[in-house]
Symmetry: C3
């Protein structure tokens, strides 16, 4: 880790300079708004993704802590790998805009992290971060600059890419020993509440995520409104389907924590298109339905039949809704909802994102599978205590008597 950071700093020393131009060339407004949106996206990356994964009863330290580690390294790496494509006098000019894109690139890693959550070591995850962001930068360059496809909210290049990259890694790292589940692979009451902190912050700031790189003015306003309405409709369908499929019409926290966000993912590609409030809500409604059904029926099948153990169900929150977003983008562009859009290029962008994800993820998985990265054994999965100094259990901290007894008890067991 120290070596990694030192190399990174040296690369910055060689390549990175401030972007003097930007703050002059572009109006202050834009600069200011970017700074605002940058903070909103930042909250999604660090609080949103970090706490969303704290639902596991014994993996909260790793969820928030490793999320912070990967994001902090990923944004530096993203600045470099994305900057390479836009060198200016051989320099990477760092601006708020580039920082937002760096935050975006880390999102792909945090999505993939969800698929392998609890089953990988920090070192394995740092390797994944380096490779996934590097490959992301290639695909992003291809999609945005070569294909000139529209993906303002990144349904394809972030969500679909991040999800299928993670699922490919998970497939390669398949653990037969977890076929019948793991006692720590579940939540407790308060861990589900911590996860809701992540859910709600992701939900609230998604309009900023989908509009952050949109052209200021009406286009950006459209992206905000479409995302807002898609998310709102998605919440209703997620709740409805959850209560329909669950025992006695009860709601399942897993669905609420995740499927309520699918609308933000699915509306991403066409967030800045003239699809109308109605179109945005329709996309959100469908996203909430397929996401919830995915958690209920598809995830178990993927695990048992395809050997894809998807801890957080990223396939349901980012994978399918991401593809839905890509398809919606193709349709919207074909219907002329975006000036200068090209449906074929949209389709190519989706295919490219999925291709880079699956191939890149498989290769990355194979590298992560090498035996010297400290991958945890099955029995230590989903458990902070293998990587963290974990304090004693809560109930041991009441009256010292019960405490003493109880721990003796533990000792004996």
């Amino acid at each position: 880790m120290p070596a990694l950071e030192i190399i990174t700093i040296i690369l910055f020393a060689v390549f990175a300079v401030y972007d003097y131009g930007k703050s002059h060339s572009r109006s202050n407004n834009k600069h200011f708004l970017k700074e605002v949106l940058f903070q909103d996206v930042h909250v999604m990356i660090f609080i949103g993704f970090g706490f969303l994964m704290t639902f596991l009863k014994r993996y909260g330290f790793s969820s928030v802590g490793i999320n912070l580690l990967l994001a902090a390294f990923g944004l530096q790496w993203g600045l470099l790998t994305q900057g390479i494509w836009h060198l200016d006098d051989g320099k990477i000019k760092v601006s708020i805009f580039k920082i937002i894109n760096a935050d975006f690139s880390t999102a792909t890693v945090l999505i993939s992290f969800g698929a392998v959550l609890g089953k990988t070591s920090p070192v394995q995850l740092l390797i994944m971060t380096i490779l996934e962001i590097t490959i992301f930068s290639i695909n992003e360059h291809l999609v945005a600059t070569v294909l000139e496809a529209n993906d303002v909210g990144a349904s394809m290049i972030i969500h679909a890419y991040g999800a299928y990259f993670g699922l490919a890694v998970a497939r390669v790292l398949y653990r037969p020993g977890l076929r019948n589940g793991h006692e720590n692979d579940g939540s407790v009451y308060h861990s589900d509440l911590f996860a809701m902190i992540g859910t709600v912050f992701l939900w609230m700031f998604w309009p900023s995520f989908n509009s952050a790189i949109a052209d200021p003015g009406f286009t950006q306003l459209t992206a905000v409104i479409n995302t807002y309405l898609s998310l709102a409709a998605c919440v209703l369908s997620a709740y409805a389907i959850s209560s329909l499929v669950e025992h006695k019409g009860k709601l399942d926290m897993v669905h609420i924590q995740n499927a309520t966000l699918a609308g933000g993912v699915a509306v991403g590609t066409c967030a800045d298109m003239n699809i109308g409030p109605f179109g945005a809500m329709l996309i959100g409604l469908v996203a909430g339905i397929i996401s919830t059904l995915g958690f209920k029926y598809l995830t178990p099948i993927l695990a048992s039949n395809l050997g894809i153990q998807d801890t957080c169900g990223v396939h349901n929150l980012h994978g399918m809704p991401g593809i839905l977003g890509g398809l919606a983008g193709i349709v919207a562009v074909a219907l002329g909802k975006k000036e200068g859009g090209n449906a074929a290029m949209q389709a190519a962008a989706l295919a490219s994102s999925l291709g880079f994800a699956l191939v890149g993820g498989a290769i990355t998985g194979l590298i992560m599978k090498l035996p010297f990265w400290g991958q945890p054994p099955d029995q230590n999965c989903f458990d902070d205590s293998i990587y963290w100094e974990v304090p004693e259990e809560e109930e041991e901290n009441e009256e010292s008597l019960a405490h003493g007894d109880h721990s003796k008890n533990k000792a004996e067991v």
Copy 2:
């Protein structure tokens, strides 16, 4: 729920379009600032209200989860019902400004939700959402357009209205069975900390709430400063009174979680008026006092003598401070602190808000009382497990042995 959302989407298909005009007519600045304030208000609605209600030991899923459900539906419904009053070529033009107002309209529902928290079903609450927001839109139109009264921070049309609407509903849904309390109607250590997340986010962003619809420039600045100072003074008086009235001068979390916010409610109506920093602080000071005293002495009386069981004590946080805000507005306008203000119209606005709240709430309560909305029986009140798949208790998740004993144990009981 699916039907409800489908109807809503159809209504949007028929009525809603983007507001092209706005982003051109008004300067980008205003547009940008609105977007910023919109996010702050958004945080108050979804994190603030949602987590403030997680103080109940066994009702956290419902507090955050149903808060999300009601807000997500309410903002769609609010866009429609408020839009009806401002149709443009028979269309509702959706803008950031309209979205902020829609968020505001949902606030009334979330306030009322606090009064009936733990004692109503999601279906009952969705019905309340539809009716309360519809009636809110009528009263808001009356107050803002017909009476042309000042209520920039909505002490009257949101806080007083939402509180007394909810209290009227609670009165109609009175449960004699809960006369002597309920074992789950209380907090645990960590649930009180989750609630503080809500308190602090509400506290911090209240200046944005009270200034969101103020005229940009000095007026808006005034609204921010007045709210900020009122809240600061309110914290001091809430702490002081709490330690004065509690046993051994201890502080009561219920007071700190709620009464510290009363200053934001009470300064709402005259937030943008020239009342001076001193005036704002005085309002906050008084609000903190009456709110804390209300929790300590009035809430028990309302429950035992009037049959009004106010779970979160919204009467103390939103009701009385809302009226105080309305009265302060009348005085401030009478003293000429607002150009073009009319004290009589301010008084009429307060009366109108209270009238619509009490009558509307009573009618809504009667509809909610119909026997086929799945209202929970007394013994299941304040308990997530009736609507949610709830994970096992925390201490059952240590070593399976103790777990086994404990559950057997439970079974025997």
Copy 3:
């Protein structure tokens, strides 16, 4: 407390007026951006500092609650004491800019609060707030106006000052009885997660903190980017060192919660200087190293040898990184990284901040040590129940019978 607030309100009545001028003189942009940054700083003060200190298993109410109390009073007091230096027609003109500075002044108190956390009464802390902010205002005036030193991110005048002020107070209030630790001076699993809420919000919004008072435009952009990169590098070194020094290469939550933020502190003074992305990252890297090593090796020594019991380890998060920031500023100015900078003045500013902190803290500590402020006895330290009505323990809140069984059960084992 009531008297205190009444006096404060009277002072506001006499001195405070709105700043009409500002919102006209300065462009709306600047005004808007300030409002945005003000909210970010606000979040750091109330959520960041408040929750960062909830790591203690039994002191969460006090951490968040007293943090709110001190901040709410401190910002009023800060407006007055800072305003005194800039009277205009004998009035303090309240503007967003002044409000940000008031928030800053409270930060010093909240830093010092961390050093004495769990060992002082609310009254003692309010006394500390009055004195520390008053002395801060003198030092700030000296540093900014007289010495004209650069300290945009306040490494010296807030972080170093707040830390050493608190350490001086802690030294005076030394408790031999806690020499061997205290059973409540530790965390539990979920309290560490609550603390991470504080850590992550502080981490995310630090770029706003360090750029809030920078000149809009390129200088401000530089402050944002430098802080962002310094923090990112700091996270990597904090994780690396934590796993190097801990048993079996495990990570220690205390390091992650605190040392990951040292980069924001250390880059503060030269955040707006042309130190280059590389320079910023180097500062962050070093800050993460010394902070983590400080927690591991220095804190125990300070407690055992110097009688300085630093509950939150503010010396490691704010003290040493603050000095590092001051030194970095001297070097950067000497290297001509800041137009018009003067290295000697930078050094004088650092010395002044440390001097006022140590002397002011010692005097404040002596006043706080007077026997009639209700300082808690050793056995009640780190325990909310001395100042708060604390609910029963979690597992006691199932059904009382099972509870009985369960605990008996425990006892029997």
